[in-house]
Symmetry: C3
Subunit: 422 residues, 3 copies
């Protein structure tokens, strides 16, 4: 027992360190130091300083709400479905609120007071034009994918002004059908004034690992300023203002309002919170960039639009009611808000990990120099002799054999076997 | 000064390499080479080739917009709230546009022309059935969580056809109340034709690190094809068509339209962009998979439905007005679109990092062989002698002691102390 | 040929192991063992056990749908636009369904039966108050950013009860304009009962790497319980109930219903799925936490509200129609649902990687001890002698020179050159 304890204690006070061949050579030393310099430079310069390898990082978590403001006035007294009217936020933001995105209508084709009945189909639908009832009768009950309802079987005059005299099959559905052609009479989009709308983007973020919460309202500004300011990327003060004029967003992305307002499009607003929390948290401020996400060179997928409708019932004189709806084909700009960013803060753990992997990488310089010394240099045989101690397993067993003469004979067979197999 | 410089210069031209015991043994050599083979095979075969360890990677960023097309016709002339009517995209997509998702109504319970007044409560609400006013009077002002309004205190005849003769408490609220039972009279969902609706999914993606932008429209197809094609996973051409028939989505996920259309459900459309940018960017194309997200075996959480209403005012003869609304309980399929994917491109940094960690891993084979050689092999004492150079700290201090005789005596006490404590 | 094969075979049966100086020293041994203990403790205790370094991990993928229930009754017979009425789910959830979020209206300013015409502007708009037509004439056609339409040029009496006698410019737009002041007459929010609303959150998740799908419905509960239960964080059973009373969510986040209901706000519901799949999958259950995301100390960004409208047409006696709308300024609570979590499962690969980097880290203890032994200890020269074998490159070439006498003379010049440059 005492022996075991003593040998355990002696094992405890031991320490192993590799034996080193220390070679003094200008050529190899130079290679060695040069490689070490590159590796240390990479670790310190790139990994630790440039990549901030001494920092622990945390991804941003975010909540965004938006509020649009602005009034548009349309003066199309010749187009009865639009007329002279004012469009406000409840008219042009659809749906009224969303997460991380909002839609602003810039152009619209209203089709008012539709009701379920029968009427001539849109003459631009493929195969809908007819000369007599026979053709339509053969399609009775069918509905074209791009049509507005099932065909009743009658051939009637189109009610589209541009297709005066054309005959089309009659359909059953929401009548009258939408006439998309209306837009071609317009010189500019209906909500031309939408370029001046502003959006107030409220962005609360948190870096959960560091318990840091921020928002995109400048800390040092008063309410007076915040209620009047407008974002301007070129102003050192206004570039933190969270109120954006739509045309500013577009022009910062290199888009002309005229090129997107008629047919719509998809824009991205990127809010970047890249924060170095080793400095004051006051320096943790957002930066905004803007870009267009859709590219419109194919005919079938140009722009951004969708249809929505308000339904309502109208009482008839006999006390019964009829369903009506106002249909809108809304063209406009869909804004997606992406909040990204990472915060870094000094932490001993990533620093040690990077230093550790740097030390491991230093071994690479030894490997390369070894190749030079042992395989390339003229004196390679000499260096190899100094670095390597050649041991043959058979020598070990010769010694064993000699020692074995004193060991009991029952072990001898086993040991012979080992000698042979090794 | 010159001495310091010279010794610094000499230190600069040095190079350290570990001294190695080179053991020639079939047994250990075999183990060593076998382990090295496994490690090198793992590094090259798995990490570098299979896992593409030579590539830098970038996650996909994406924007999705959708456009539904299709017409449904319902022919329920016996159910007055539905009747014979056509349902179009403005009727069945609610809300009209969303980010990364869309909802298609497949079944509906309309309750038209509701207005704020008093009426009999839904008789299926627990505890609402009564025999006389006394019971209802005791509940006056209370509202059941699943009820439609506060109880007025009167006991009245139910107006539900299936509960003819049943008496229920009267409530104040939107009247008449919704009668969910209507659906049980239907043999198939109201928007039975919704199986043929198509959705055009426009997906613009970008891999920010590589500056590669793509969209899910085949580059080499003309507008003619794109306006007519339909997705088909079995066709080498149509599997890139971004227009999906709803029934195709369901059947690819192993779902029968009949099993989801009546009560609704939640489907996921996964668009996967896994791109190897070492090849032509033309090969960076999406693949689509579909699955059902909700599983409906518990009664309380089956399917997917929600209620929405269109409100409107109706002028009365005396010039005042009254609020009305049409309430819809919409059953349908909620489609969530998930865009995922990673692009890889050759980069020297991850390749070096993987080779580096591979070299470090090679050390494991030495450790395992050392265990075999030093603890298991018969000749372990011999090998240990060759590997280890035994040094006792006391020897160091004996030498020191001898050398010390020449050092000034004031240092001697300190050095003795060291000798004792080490 | 046979020679090459034989030497290749002999190289195959070799094995290199570093030669070690084994130092027996209490002081250094102690430092060494202490450092090793810290490193091994860090690896095993922190990395492997605490951080579960033996597990492969997978991030959660999730789909959330919500369903609100509850009835509110408002009894403001003195405010005609609200009156005595019942609010149900189709009234207070706007839009009716969203992904990962929902909005509950708690307070509202309705402006009913607006139509496009001319009327006095809101007197609280800056610069709108006038004394005579001249002032308004100078602003004709302009619209204030916070106004409701372009100015017609007339100066008229305000129709706001609180601004009796004030004159303001007339505008063209949706008339009458919204009177936000109405709220100041209320002692409590219109939908005071919204505190009792409940939301059923259906959350289906999947850990794709492990093929594990779960949902937030307790497996072992019957439909009876699930249709009646309410979430309670203090109950071991009810803390898994997926039905949440709104006031419970608020109070768990430390928010009084009274402090958020009048002006609205943004709340976050975090569903955390942190699962150890080494145990039964039945233990993989969600936990819920709640917090408020917006902080309201600046005037301009307090609370959460937005405007929406229901539009409808009204037929006039002459058969033509006029557009009307009901405008609502909706105050309420926006709930964002964040699903997060990671599942871990035993896997040999991360375990080996962590053990591997742990072994590499052990080298640090040798480096530190080497510093102590070679630079600090009194016997450093002795130890250095034992660890290092000093080799001068010039010795190598002296030997070469001697050997060279037997090599052909044409190589001699080249070898001399090498000797000089190394």
């Amino acid at each position: 027992m005492a022996t075991i304890l003593r040998s355990a204690a002696s094992a405890f006070f031991e320490y192993d360190t590799p034996r080193i061949t220390h070679i003094r050579s200008k050529k190899v030393g130079l290679i060695n130091r040069f490689l070490q310099l590159i590796i240390i430079g990479y670790i310190i310069g790139y990994v630790i300083v440039y990549q901030k390898g001494y920092q622990d990082t945390s991804k941003v978590q975010s909540a965004v709400t938006t509020k649009l403001k602005g009034i548009a006035f349309s003066n199309y007294s010749d187009i009865s479905s639009i007329g002279e009217r004012t469009w406000d936020v409840a008219d042009y933001v659809i749906p009224p609120q969303e997460s991380n995105s909002f839609f602003v209508m810039t152009n619209v084709v209203p089709t008012l007071m539709q009701t379920q009945s029968t009427c001539p189909e849109d003459p631009t639908v493929d195969g809908i034009q007819c000369e007599n009832d026979e053709y339509c009768e053969s399609l009775k009950g069918a509905s074209f994918l791009k049509g507005n309802g099932p065909i009743t079987g009658k051939c009637v005059n189109s009610d589209f002004p541009n297709f005066n005299g054309t005959k089309v099959c009659q359909i059953r559905g929401w009548c009258p059908v939408e006439n998309d052609d209306m837009l071609s009479n317009l010189t500019e989009p209906v909500l031309q004034d939408s370029r001046n709308f502003t959006v107030f983007i409220k962005n609360n973020i948190v870096f959960p690992k560091f318990g840091v919460a921020r928002r995109n309202l400048p800390d040092n500004e008063d309410d007076q300023y915040l209620s009047k300011c407008q974002y301007d990327s070129h102003s050192s003060r206004d570039k933190f203002c969270p109120i954006f004029r739509l045309e500013t967003i577009l022009s910062d992305a290199g888009i002309q309002f005229e090129n997107i307002s008629a047919e719509g499009g998809v824009m991205q607003i990127v809010i970047d919170w890249t924060c170095n929390l080793d400095y004051s948290v006051d320096n943790c401020v957002p930066s905004y960039t803007f870009q267009r996400l859709d590219r419109g060179d194919l005919k079938i997928s140009r722009g951004f639009n969708f249809r929505y409708a308000d339904q309502f019932g109208v009482f008839l004189d006999d006390g019964s009611y009829k369903l009506y709806r106002n249909l809108y084909k809304a063209y406009g700009i869909r804004f997606l808000i992406t909040v990204q960013g990472t915060a870094g803060k000094f932490s001993i753990v990533p620093l040690l990990l990077n230093i550790g992997s740097g030390l491991a990488l230093l071994g690479v310089s030894t490997i390369i120099c070894d190749i030079v010394v042992l395989y390339i240099l003229k004196g390679r045989h000499f260096f190899r002799e100094k670095k390597y101690l050649d041991v043959k397993a058979s020598d070990a067993f010769q010694i064993l054999d000699e020692e074995e003469d004193e060991t009991p004979s029952k072990n001898r067979a086993v040991q012979r076997k080992v000698t042979v197999s090794s």
